[in-house]
């Protein structure tokens, strides 16, 4: 019994699951406290997960597809945060990199050559490149001049937001909140998905997300580059003294990190909307990505699962409102999960306390 408990506390994955369960538990209590039936919350979540409406027995696969579609930017922004975190950096700039990706994708969608495939491919590549530049600059500043990445990324988020507005207002057909419609060739919609999912917004972005997850896992766990980055993240001094090019590791990791967020921006721009948006505020996927990566322990699989959970919560918001549950409960649950993640160290302390008691007992017996 003791051994299993110890193993569970030491396993990061188990802690994440525990944290999520705790988040939902407290969320349930809160719903009950405000006088609503928590069962309705779970009904909504179940419907978003399986497409099955328990109340009327109807099945609509569209809900599954929307959950998946919502998950894509969460997962990608989680990868963005996670990649930098593994190298010991705290990339709060996912939002800015996302916005730049979105902006460039919109610009290329409206101005680029209207050739099938090539058009959206260019737009997506543009989003990836600008995201990696937006992140890479931070990496170079950090590696060469020791500028704190936390400060520079936060500032660049605002630069990105207002730069995006300037650029988008110049695009064809721009009003204060939207541009002209994108040409068909720029969209990444998938007619097959639309057919089988009752016209959901699920699009080809999901394939790009899956590729991104695989790339993340491959670079981090399998390559020489990832090895050097992990060493840098765990112990920068030892990595440096062992000849690992730390400056290069940091710059490249921020660029790759930015590429994931930029891709997220491109997918949202071309997949979820038919026109370009002139942003008046942030979409917050970049910020939510921080929580996603933390819950997912910055591993490829963990981040994917955590991103899916966040997508599920987001998709169930509308369903909850239909069942008289305030949708804000999903934000509360997200917040609780992040708070409980921070309690991870408390769990470790608890384990140490148990170890100590055990040892005292053993010594006492002699």
């Amino acid at each position: 019994m003791k051994l299993t408990r110890q193993k569970l506390i030491q396993s990061d994955g188990a802690v994440s699951v525990l944290v999520v369960v705790l988040g939902f538990l407290v969320g349930t209590i809160l719903v009950a406290l405000v006088g609503k039936n928590p069962l309705n919350m779970y009904k909504a979540l179940f419907q978003a997960l399986s497409g099955y409406n328990i109340d009327n027995g109807r099945m609509n696969i569209r809900y599954i597809a929307e959950t998946l579609n919502y998950s894509v930017p969460f997962i990608l922004c989680g990868l963005s945060m996670g990649f930098a975190k593994r190298v010991g950096l705290f990339n709060i700039g996912g939002e800015g990199q996302y916005i730049m990706g979105l902006t460039i994708a919109q610009a290329i969608a409206l101005l680029g050559p209207q050739v099938p495939v090539l058009h959206w491919l260019l737009a997506i590549l543009g989003a990836i490149v600008i995201g990696s530049l937006w992140g890479g600059v931070v990496g170079i500043l950090k590696a060469k001049y020791e500028v704190s990445e936390v400060v520079s990324t936060i500032m660049l988020n605002y630069v990105a937001l207002y730069l995006s507005r300037i650029i988008c207002l110049q695009l064809p057909g721009a009003t204060t909140y939207k541009t002209a419609n994108f040409p068909e060739t720029a969209l990444i919609g998938n007619t097959f998905f639309q057919k089988i999912t009752n016209n959901s917004l699920l699009n080809n972005g999901i394939f790009m997300m899956v590729i991104a997850v695989l790339v993340y896992w491959f670079i981090m766990e399998k390559t020489s580059l990832g090895y050097g980055m992990r060493a840098t993240g765990f112990n920068k001094e030892a990595a440096r003294a062992s000849g690992i090019p730390v400056v290069k590791s940091i710059s490249i990791s921020m660029a790759i990190s930015g590429a994931f967020a930029g891709l997220a921006g491109g997918i949202v721009a071309l997949g979820s909307f038919k026109y370009g948006r002139v942003l008046s505020g942030m979409d917050n996927y970049g910020f939510d990505g921080i929580a996603v990566a933390l819950v997912g322990n910055c591993t490829a699989l963990g981040t994917t699962l955590a991103g899916f959970l966040f997508g599920l919560l987001k998709n169930s918001q509308a369903l909850m409102q239909g069942k008289q549950i305030p949708k804000e409960i999903t934000f509360i649950i997200q917040g609780l999960i992040v708070i409980f993640i921070a309690l991870r160290s408390a769990l470790k302390l608890y384990q140490e306390y148990l170890d100590k008691k055990q040892l005292q007992k053993e010594v006492g017996i002699k």
Partner: protein
């Protein structure tokens, strides 16, 4: 009056994962110098921290002069007349000696600080106990030995009758050690009771009356020092027969492999730490750098490894200039490095042993395959070899988390990695710091074996014993410059001590 000034009975103290003290009993008589002997991690410091109130024991009792006492915190200990001279001094650098001594117990007159009477009392104490130190000097300007006297005066100023010294000689030159020994004897003759925590046998033989030996948290026994030999004490400490001297066969030296020429290194705040330093290391030779900590050793190391830029001079490895090479290029040119702070610079604690043994050549064949993919199985196989070859004790073989290994085994991981890369020059810093005797013997033997293979070895150590034991030639460093370079058999520890303090060898003779 009870026979014992201090009695600690059946003290048990556990930390997560370790029993630091297991039913330890310590009895210290009035007016004696009582040594507490044990290896690193034997539980000496824990026991004394309990006596001083920094830790509370899980069980057991403390009696002072026959009366049971509950020492909850260091303030209680101070009020009961216990003082402690810590290994790392707790002084305010830009305060004067007198200010440091009275800090926390300042005499006041009408609410105002009365420095005059404070100075007078400090001067009187320093006279009475022959602790020579200028009360008006700033602490940052005085030597380490003098700073230690300030710490002793601090305890005396607080009317300590029992003074605990935690490894007091670790930071001193041999001459300062001699002076400290005289101070200890003087304190005893003035009626103080002294507990001396140490692992140095020579010092115990010189000043201690009785000695209690701890091993792995247990009390092995208490002996009267003049009845036993150093060999006996060592065996009690380690639990088996110990060889002090390492056999070092004669060795032909070859050509110059590492050449430091007029090195000049400044630290991050722009202060010159290494001045015009020149030194050659030949194939098949161990050259030692002796010196007190803080005389430019870490900057010298940093400049050779490539962590710090040179501000002047040149470093040649096998005749080729290395000053502008990156750290990785230096490693490729044949530079090996066993760092002094193994957790910070030596290993990545979160990595497995296999990942750590490949830390310097993971990007090369046979580990690196096409498209930058790493062959982790090859790393594991090589690590398993090294684990056997270097007798690394681990729970799960090459997959073991390096951070979970003992210090000695972590050091073996580093030594295994560096030696397996067959460097032309091996730079070794404090290779045995914090290790137990078995690991120390092993690491030293390995270094000698590398010398046998014709490697050029530069050894930096603050332990003069280690330098004298291992080196063929010894360069003594003081304030960033080399005072003299001597053959090992042509110089004594005493002479090196004088040079460490800055005097030229000619002046010694």
């Amino acid at each position: 009056m009870s026979e014992y000034a201090i009695e600690m009975r059946n003290i048990t103290k556990t930390f997560p994962g370790v029993v630091a003290n297991d039913m330890v009993t310590l009895q210290v008589k009035h007016q004696e110098i009582h040594a507490l002997l044990g290896e690193n991690g034997a539980g000496k410091s824990t026991l004394m921290s309990i006596l001083f109130g920094s830790y509370s024991a899980d069980s057991g009792s403390i009696l002072l002069d026959g009366k049971p006492r509950d020492i909850k915190n260091p303030n209680v200990a101070t009020s009961l007349g216990i003082g402690m001279v810590h290994q790392h001094f707790k002084l305010v650098q830009n305060y004067t000696v007198a200010e440091n001594i009275v800090l926390g117990m300042e005499p006041t007159k009408g609410g105002m600080l009365d420095m005059k009477s404070a100075r007078a009392r400090v001067a009187k104490l320093s006279d009475q106990y022959a602790l020579k130190v200028d009360p008006d000097a700033l602490v940052e300007d005085i030597t380490v030995g003098q700073q230690q006297r300030v710490e002793i005066l601090k305890t005396l100023y607080r009317n300590a009758n029992i003074i605990i010294f935690d490894e007091p000689t670790a930071v001193l030159t041999p001459q300062e050690v001699d002076e400290l020994m005289d101070i200890l004897k003087k304190l005893r003759s003035e009626g103080k009771t002294i507990v001396l925590i140490t692992h140095k046998l020579k010092e115990i033989k010189e000043v201690a009356d009785r000695c209690t030996v701890l091993r792995r948290g247990r009390c092995i026994g208490t002996v009267i020092v003049k009845d036993v030999s150093e060999q006996d004490l060592a065996e009690m400490m380690v639990g088996r027969a110990v060889k002090f001297e390492i056999e070092k066969p004669e060795q032909q030296v070859g050509k110059v492999m590492l050449s430091l020429q007029n090195l000049q290194v400044t630290d991050q705040s722009g202060i010159v730490r290494v001045k015009d330093l020149s030194l050659d290391v030949h194939e098949g030779e161990i050259v030692g750098i002796a010196g007190v900590d803080g005389n430019g050793q870490s900057e010298l190391l940093g400049s050779i490894i490539g962590l710090l830029p040179l501000s002047g001079g040149a470093i040649l490895l096998d005749g080729k200039s290395m000053g502008n090479l990156s750290i990785r290029e230096r490693i490729q040119a044949g530079l090996g490095y066993i760092p002094e702070d193994r957790k910070k610079f030596g290993v990545v604690g979160e990595f497995s042993i296999a990942e750590n043994t490949a830390l310097k050549n993971y990007y090369l064949s046979p580990y690196r395959k096409r498209f930058g993919v790493l062959d982790f199985d090859a790393m594991k196989n090589e690590a398993e070899n090294l684990i056997k070859q270097f007798d690394i004790r681990s729970a799960e073989g090459a997959q073991t988390n390096t951070g979970s290994l003992s210090g000695g085994n972590q050091q073996k991981v580093i030594v295994a990695r560096e030696i397996s890369l067959s460097p032309k020059v091996l730079v070794v810093a404090q290779p045995t710091r914090g290790l137990d005797v078995g690991a120390i013997e092993y690491i030293r033997k390995r270094i000698i074996a590398e010398r046998g293979k014709g490697r050029a070895i530069l050894l930096i150590s603050f332990e003069l014993d280690e330098i004298m034991n291992l080196c063929d030639r010894i360069a003594t460093l003081s304030k960033g410059s080399i005072v003299a370079v001597n053959k090992q058999n042509e110089v004594t520890e005493y002479e090196i001590g004088l040079m460490m303090a800055g005097s030229k060898k000619e002046a010694v003779r």
